[in-house]
Assembly symmetry: C2
DNA sequence: GTCTATATAGTGATAGAC
DNA sequence: GTCTATCACTATATAGAC
């Protein structure tokens, strides 16, 4: 993933700038300036600005989908799946902070790959919904409006990339434990 | 607020487009096209694209601050304040859906008014923090990491504009009751 | 209040020298 | 792998006619 080539340097720089100002407000000259080269030099390593967005958003979305699919196929309870899914989401947030900003905020600027992205996004959400519904049916979770619980959970997870960048130095494990506890407490039936 | 002048029509149109693509990706031509006029005609009603952003973001932020200040000054318990604050946030979300998207996602493109906005945003967050801390001290809320509870609560409220636009036809009262219940359950000590 | 015409400054991207 | 030079296009915004 992080193979210190020039190309990856460009991708990482783009991610940082996309996070700060958004895809549309970042110019190829901005990216080049950050690397102390000229904008035209970027094109020796990447094909287009759009490609930078695709690299960031699509590969991260695939990582989400693959990890989630593994969790869904485990022979464990709904509450155990939920705990794993939350931890997994926190993991990605911590290790792909900048790319996650692009995924959250700039996906609508994807062109060719937009439908593919939307399918992955929808599948990811559906997996969470299934976990919550299963847990409510089995009595592990308190019965409440599924969509509201789902929305509240996903909102918190999706915004985590901002909060983690700000609070910085809380350890990964502390974050996972506290966050998971807080989120899970709101739905456990006991 | 909604005084059907041409100017307000332009502001409303801009808000809808800003929500869809973000401030930077929306051109004055896009706004003009939506109104079936030429881009140059817009400048008879507004001064600049930046002014459109300011009108949307700053006036809404002021509404948030004013409402929150009133709640903070009421002689009521922390849990009552929290319930009112959540309801108030939901109120604004429902009635200013598009402008709220700009406030959430495009505030960093403010220029002159950016410091003013950041102060308001910080004050709003601090008020929520005070409520949570007071409630934990008094024993109304279960003692947990204040910042994580605060973050989770604000994430859900800030994302609500997206969810409400999608789910559409759930009544305002149903939403308030279900959402407030779900959010509050996670922190009440009983 | 809207139009046409235009000024001025970017924008993403390419060609070709070094 | 980076540069200079440049293209074709688009951006915000203004001036002045109707």
């Amino acid at each position: 993933m992080t193979k210190n080539t020039r190309r990856d340097e460009i991708v990482r720089t783009a991610a940082i700038l996309f996070k700060k100002k958004g895809y549309s407000a970042v110019t190829m000259r901005d990216i080049a300036d950050s690397l102390d080269i000229k904008a035209s030099s970027l094109y020796n390593h990447i094909q287009s600005k759009q490609e930078l967005l695709e690299i960031l958003v699509i590969s991260l979305a695939e990582e989400f989908i693959n990890g989630m699919n593994k969790i869904m196929n485990l022979p464990i309870s709904a509450s155990e799946k939920l705990r794993l899914a939350i931890d997994f989401h926190i993991d990605i947030t911590i290790h792909n902070n900048e790319a996650l900003a692009a995924l959250n905020n700039d996906w609508m600027h994807l062109e060719e790959k937009l439908p593919y992205f939307l399918k992955m996004r929808n599948d990811y959400e559906q997996n969470f919904r299934t976990i919550i519904e299963t847990g409510m049916t089995s009595g592990e979770f308190v019965k409440r409006d599924v969509e509201i619980v789902l929305f509240s959970l996903l909102s918190t997870l999706r915004n985590l990339y901002l909060w983690y960048a700000r609070k910085g130095r809380v350890s990964e494990d502390t974050l996972k434990n506290n966050m998971a506890d807080t989120l899970l407490k709101s739905i456990f039936s006991t």
